[in-house]
Each structure stands twice: as structure tokens, then as C-alpha cells.
């Protein structure tokens, strides 16, 4: 496909969207906030790929999730199990300091990983005579209370007519030395009587187990297979409580009230918002939608498209300060703009007390000699609407009055935001964030540094859930279903291409707005970024 054909196709489909949008905007009925972007017969649902919410791993989940600890275990007949546990609990001090509630205290041999059942016996090692000349690592020993020599390893553990046994997780190895533990257990049944000790020789093993609770049932299954039977206790020390996440995911995906906007529609709107500024030549495509949810009724309170290319001064061009070619006005990032618009909207609808306070603060600016040109300030911060679509949502006084910043609001983004925008979301106290495309080179929300199932790894900041900061929020990637590999793909095109498309679109925008295009929407992926900018772009 030639560049021209490509541009033509892209522009045609874009056109259709814009035309449709404008029709919707100019129509007199504005029933539901999504109608304008998701008409019932519409282009939105037509060829949509199915997406799902994938909760982002937190930094701590990535960092600590696979830490292990060494523990002592012992195999013993079931009927003695509780008694021995009681002894161990009484005699091994401080073992509760390490919480291993996520591990089964007693495990049946059949539920243990093979390598644990066949583990070398530490007691035998303690008394063993090393036979270095043997090629296989096995030892011969005489158990202290018997006169019989045994072969230690490898060894057939199966014994016929043996009563049912259990493996007891005694405690982390750091709390008692092997010799002390051995001496302790030797004082008690079934290990003390010589008859029993023959039937059930004291075999203490050192086993590696996961130190911390699993954060999902899948992880629990994996650890049960690899280490030791593990429970998923529906808690997560490194992130939001699983019940909170499920509730949130349910609310995001299921439209429970008429007119509610679900994640799919919100994401479509975010894309449209970004395109709206892009086709005007203001930005490079990313979009942001901020939504308030009160008693599970949704209200879209602000939308903003990326507007980094919009001139800060009348008649001037925004110059790029670096080689990436996409820097522009950094305040024009969609997230910064949307947060700013929420503030402007709050100011407009503020109660007397709040507006008096804000006015006083504004005056103190002048006291400090900072009363500069308001127009210039607005042009820099871009915290007022610049497209009809942005204006539509700005004009609607639907915010709960006198709310604090963006406290617990929901944010829908076409792209993982940069560190500046990610921290702006923290400062603004948002509640939930969903984004479509990962930005591995610049994104601030994902935490993976080593491995990631749904795409490439990024910078690893995981800013949505950092214990060091005073605010955490839940965050999801809106990942494509049944498509392996990256969901964070950004078409890698040269800056020149980008500008060419830019200009082509802007031109069409100006000249062909009222032409009737019958162009079929050939965008084969509803959520693919139409915008193409280099991967190193900050969004």
C-alpha cells in the first residue's frame, strides 16, 4: 500500500468518525453521555476485538512475590500429628514472627511435590559417613536409637502396610538448630520409643517454601506444585484487597444502571477524544476520560485529548526541544489537561466557601508578583476545553459539589501515562485507572522489570501502588484477548511520516468536512492506535 493510499484510508475512516461525532453533537437530544460516541448501530461495536481488564502487578508483587524461606519438616503418622505440633508450638520460640498462614501445616505425601517427598534426610546427613568415592550421592548411617544400618539416598520411600502419614511443617530453619530440633523430637512419641522409632524413623528435611502469601489462585496452584501445598487466602499484602478488585472489575464491566458507561465505551470515548485534538493538529492522539461513580451511577466529568502541539503563544509554533520530535508542550499531555479541567469545573461550581478560598489564593499570586497574563497561563496549562467534544463534557455541571481534587475518580487512558502524568494522578487522589497501550520506554504505572505476560517490560516504577507514597490506586491494562505478545505496541514510524499524516489529516479536516464519504471503516482493530508516534514518546 502506498503511503498515499494508507493516508487516504486512515483519513477516510477518521473522517467518518468525525462526521458522525459532529452529527451527534449538533443533534438536540443528548440523552446518554455515551450516545455521542457509541450509537447503537454504530461503528464502535462492529468489529471490536474482545478486551479484558488485567490488573497491574504492583512493584512489591514483582519484587517480593517469589521470595522463599527454608523450613524444617518431618514425616509422622497421622495419629501423632496434633501432639507433635503442640510440642513444636510450645518449644520453638518466636516462630509466629514469620507468618506462614498461606502454607498447609500438615500435608499428605501425595500432595507434596516429588522432590520434597524424596528430599534428603537431614538427620541421616548429620550422622552420615561420607562416601566420596560413590558416584551417586548416597550415605550409610546408623540412626542413634537403633543398631541397624540404613541406606539413605536414593531410597525407595514406599513401605507396605505403613499407616497413613503426614508431613508437618515445623518452622523456619532460623528458629531452631537441626541438632536441637532432633533432640526435642526424640523425646516425644512416636520418635522416642524404640519400637516406634524403627517404624517411623525421625526424618527431618529442609524444604524451600514461599515466604509470602500468593496473590492469586493461579499462583497458589503453581506454588503447591513447585514448593509446598499453598492456600490462596483472598488477601494481598502488596496491593488492593482482592475483594475490592473484583468489585471494581464488576462495576467497570457491567452496566448496572441505565445510561452507565462501561470500560469499553469509556475507552472508545478516550480514543475519540484523542483523535479530536489530533485531527485539528493540536496533538499526537492520546486521550483521557475522567468519570465519577456515585452509588454505581457513572458521570463523565471531563475529557481531554493530547494537545502538546497547540501553540502556547498566538501565531507561534511549538518547537520541539529534543530529537524525539514529540515533546511539544508537556502540559498538553492528556492526563494533565483532564486533571486541570476537573479543577476548572470544580471552581466554576464551587460553593461560596471554596470559591472565596480559591479567590484569596489567586490574589496572593498577585501579592507575590505573579499575576501574569491569564491568557498565556491558560494557553500553557490547556486546562480549558479546546474541542467541541471536550466542551460538551466541561459544560455539564455533573460533578458532586465541593469534591476534593480527583478523589476516587476513574480515569480511562488510551496510553500508559509518563512519570509526570502518573504522579499527577497520585497527587490528584484518583481511585481507578484503566489504560489501553503500555508504553514500555516511558510509562510510569507498570511495575515489571523482568518478565511480563501481556507485553514488554517497562521502567518498573509501578507508581499506582507504591507504599512509599501516600496514595495508591487500582490500575488495569485493557488488554486484548487471544492475541499473544504485546498489547503495548506502538507503530514505529518516523517522525517525518507522522508529520505527513498529520498534515494530510489537517488538510482534509479543513477542506472536506462536508463531503459525504461512504468510506468503509477499514480499521481492523478498534483499539489500535491510529496515531503513530515513536515508542520513546512520553504520553
Amino acid at each position: 500500500m502506498s503511503l498515499f493510499t494508507f493516508l487516504f484510508h486512515a483519513s477516510t475512516s477518521l473522517f467518518e468518525h468525525v462526521r458522525h461525532l459532529l452529527e451527534q453533537l449538533t443533534s438536540t437530544t443528548m440523552a446518554s453521555p455515551v450516545d455521542s460516541v457509541a450509537p447503537s448501530e454504530g461503528w464502535v461495536t462492529k468489529r471490536s476485538h474482545s478486551h479484558r481488564l488485567v490488573q497491574l502487578k504492583t512493584k512489591e508483587e514483582c519484587r517480593l512475590g517469589n521470595e522463599t524461606i527454608q523450613v524444617w519438616t518431618v514425616e509422622l503418622p497421622s495419629r501423632h500429628a496434633e501432639w507433635v505440633l503442640k510440642i513444636v508450638k510450645e518449644q520453638v520460640k518466636d516462630q509466629d514472627m514469620i507468618d506462614l498462614q498461606h502454607l498447609r501445616r500438615f500435608a499428605k505425601p501425595k500432595f507434596l511435590p516429588q522432590h520434597v517427598v524424596g528430599q534428603r534426610d537431614k538427620v541421616k546427613e548429620m550422622y552420615s559417613i561420607p562416601r566420596a568415592w560413590e558416584s551417586t550421592p548416597f550415605a550409610v548411617m546408623q540412626a542413634p536409637s537403633t543398631t541397624t544400618w540404613e541406606y539413605a539416598w536414593p531410597k525407595n520411600t514406599k513401605q507396605m502396610n505403613r499407616p497413613q502419614t503426614l508431613h508437618l511443617l515445623i518452622c523456619p530453619t532460623r528458629f531452631i538448630q537441626l541438632s536441637d530440633l532432633h533432640a526435642l523430637l526424640m523425646q516425644h512419641t512416636p520418635f522416642c520409643s524404640s519400637a516406634d522409632s524403627w517404624a517411623y524413623p525421625l526424618q527431618i528435611k529442609e524444604v524451600t517454601v514461599p515466604l509470602l502469601s500468593p496473590t492469586s489462585p493461579q499462583q497458589a496452584d503453581m506454588w503447591s506444585r513447585d514448593y509446598w501445598p499453598t492456600f490462596y487466602r483472598k488477601t494481598n499484602p502488596f496491593g488492593a484487597h482482592p475483594a475490592t478488585i473484583w468489585k471494581a472489575e464488576d462495576e467497570l464491566q457491567n452496566v448496572s444502571a441505565p445510561g452507565n458507561v462501561d470500560v469499553k465505551e469509556a475507552m472508545t470515548l478516550a480514543k475519540t477524544v484523542g483523535r479530536e485534538t489530533e485531527i485539528r493538529g493540536y496533538g499526537i492522539g492520546p486521550g483521557c476520560v475522567i468519570m465519577e461513580r456515585v452509588d454505581n451511577v457513572t458521570q463523565i466529568v471531563a475529557v481531554a485529548g493530547d494537545a502538546r502541539s497547540k501553540p502556547v503563544k498566538a501565531g507561534s509554533m511549538v518547537e520541539d526541544t529534543n530529537t524525539h520530535g514529540c515533546n511539544g508542550n508537556i502540559m498538553g499531555h492528556a492526563v494533565m489537561r483532564a486533571i486541570g479541567i476537573v479543577g476548572r469545573k470544580r471552581l466554576r461550581a464551587a460553593s461560596h466557601i471554596i470559591s472565596t478560598r480559591a479567590a484569596k489564593a489567586e490574589r496572593s499570586f498577585e501579592t507575590c508578583g505573579l499575576g501574569h497574563d491569564e491568557q498565556a497561563r491558560d494557553a500553557f496549562f490547556l486546562d480549558l476545553p479546546i474541542t467541541p467534544l471536550e466542551e460538551k463534557y466541561f459544560a455539564d455541571d455533573n460533578l458532586v459539589p465541593d469534591g476534593y481534587l480527583c478523589l476516587r475518580l476513574e480515569v480511562y487512558l488510551t496510553h500508559e501515562p509518563c512519570m509526570m502524568c502518573s504522579m499527577a494522578l497520585v497527587h490528584s487522589r484518583v481511585g481507578r485507572v484503566v489504560f489501553l497501550h503500555r508504553m514500555p520506554q516511558t510509562g510510569g504505572l507498570t511495575a515489571e522489570l523482568a518478565r511480563n505476560d501481556s507485553g514488554p517490560v517497562g521502567l518498573g516504577y509501578g507508581l499506582c501502588w507504591r507504599k512509599e507514597l501516600n496514595w495508591q490506586f487500582m490500575c488495569w491494562e485493557y488488554a486484548e484477548e487471544q492475541k499473544k505478545g504485546s498489547t503495548g505496541k506502538v507503530e514505529d514510524s518516523s517522525t517525518t511520516d507522522h508529520h505527513a499524516q498529520h498534515i494530510a489529516r489537517a488538510t482534509l479536516d479543513l477542506t472536506g468536512m462536508d463531503t459525504d464519504f461512504n468510506g468503509e471503516d477499514d480499521d481492523d482493530d478498534d483499539y489500535a492506535s491510529v496515531s503513530s508516534f515513536v515508542e520513546s514518546t512520553h504520553v
Binding site: 502556547v312 503563544k313 507561534s316 511549538v318 518547537e319 526541544t321 529534543n322 524525539h324 515533546n327 508542550n329 508537556i330 502540559m331 494533565m336 486533571i339 486541570g340 476537573v342 479543577g343 476548572r344 470544580r346 471552581l347 471554596i354 480559591a358 484569596k360 489564593a361 489567586e362 496572593s364 499570586f365 507575590c368 508578583g369 505573579l370 501574569h372 497574563d373 498565556a376 497561563r377 494557553a379 500553557f380 496549562f381 486546562d383 481534587l405 480527583c406 509518563c418 512519570m419 509526570m420 502524568c421 504522579m423 499527577a424 497520585v426 497527587h427 490528584s428 520506554q441 516511558t442 510510569g444 521502567l459 516504577y461 507508581l463 512509599e468 507514597l469 501516600n470 520513546s536 512520553h538
Partner: protein, 205 residues
């Protein structure tokens, strides 16, 4: 964080003094006492105090307020030859913005151990990233910067409808010293702890 000696300190103190003055003006108008100036070729081209109360926007930090002034008169590229003097270490958000704008260097007073992006909590100025890193120099009029914040909290607490117990309202005047020698890793750690113990607990930087 250990603040190493700053070359040509008097030159930089001159501009940090102006940033402190901005913070003092802010305090006098009951605003969070964080101030900053941007300096290009020995000349202040932008000044800022916190703008969060006026805008109901939690991201309107002093640095951004000053940038708005600069952008109304200069091309953005001026920042690549401009230095920032700010009384409190820039937060993670501002640290990232400054790097994207290509700031030349950042001089700050005290650490921001809640949100700092230039060493206090994270190292956004120097972490691997697509934009060039920038140098930061901390500790210029550190004590003054901390005292301004403490005075602000005492002032705020006295205005609160239910005043806290008296001991919390007392103005603490002792400030832990900062070692300026180049440390071993362990010494750096303990200095960090000492700095944190004495340093601000504040969010609007």
C-alpha cells in the same frame, strides 16, 4: 541523601535566596511556603509559588507556575540552558516534567521525603530514561527551607478548629546537621535517615 559541596556556592546562594523570598511571600499569604526561580544567563526568567489552592488542581506546583510565566515570553528550548532553584526538592511529577523539558540543572534547599523525585523518594532526574539526565544539588539554605515549612504547619494548626495538643504546636528550631563529606554506602544510608528525621513532611513541592 548527602549534599556534596556545590562549586561556586555564593553564585547559587544568590538565586536560592530569591526562591526563599518567594516562599516567604507565600507563607505571608497563608500559602504553602515553597518557592522557586528559573535562571537563564544570570537572570531570573520565571518565579513560582504553589498554585493548588487557587486552581483546585493538585498538580499546580510552584515549578509549573513559573514555567507558565517563562513560556509566555520565551521559546521552550530556553530551558535547556536554564537552571531551577527551588526551596524544596522537586516532586516526582515535577522531576519528570523538568527532565522532559530538558532543564540544565536543579538546585534545591531541603529534601522532600514524601514525594521527592530527585533523590528523596525516587531518582527521576538520573534514572535510565529516554531524555538526558540532569544534575541536582541539594542543601542550599536547607535550614531556612525547613523552618518555613515548620512555621507554616504551626500557623495552620493554630487556625484549625480543634487545636492539637500544645506540644505539637511548638515550633521546633533545632535542625539536624547534614554531612557534606563523600560517604561510604553505609554512611550515606545513615545520613539519609538523619536527614529524614529532621526534614519536611510535606506534599506540595
Amino acid at each position: 541523601m548527602v549534599f556534596p559541596p556545590i562549586p561556586n556556592r555564593e553564585y547559587h546562594e544568590h538565586f536560592m535566596r530569591q526562591a526563599i523570598q518567594m516562599a516567604e511571600l507565600a507563607l505571608a499569604s497563608d500559602e504553602t511556603p515553597v518557592g522557586c526561580v528559573f535562571v537563564h544567563s544570570g537572570e531570573v526568567i520565571g518565579r513560582g509559588i504553589n498554585g493548588t489552592n487557587a486552581s483546585l488542581n493538585g498538580t499546580r506546583h510552584a515549578e509549573f507556575v513559573a514555567l507558565a510565566e517563562i513560556m509566555s515570553r520565551h521559546p521552550q528550548s530556553i530551558l535547556t540552558t536554564t537552571d531551577l532553584y527551588v526551596t524544596v526538592e522537586p516532586c516526582i511529577m515535577c522531576a519528570s516534567a523538568l527532565r522532559q523539558y530538558g532543564i540544565r540543572a536543579v538546585y534545591f534547599g531541603c529534601l522532600n521525603d514524601r514525594f521527592g523525585g530527585c533523590g528523596g523518594v525516587m531518582k527521576i532526574h538520573s534514572d535510565p530514561g529516554v531524555d538526558p539526565a540532569y544534575p541536582v544539588y541539594g542543601g542550599l539554605f536547607r535550614e531556612e527551607a525547613i523552618m518555613l515549612l515548620r512555621r507554616f504547619y504551626v500557623q495552620e494548626n493554630e487556625k484549625a478548629p480543634e487545636p492539637k495538643p500544645k506540644k505539637n504546636r511548638e515550633l521546633k528550631t533545632e535542625i539536624l546537621p547534614v554531612t557534606v563529606t563523600q560517604p561510604t554506602a553505609a554512611a550515606a544510608k545513615s545520613n539519609m535517615a538523619a536527614a529524614r528525621a529532621g526534614e519536611l513532611k510535606h506534599q506540595m513541592a
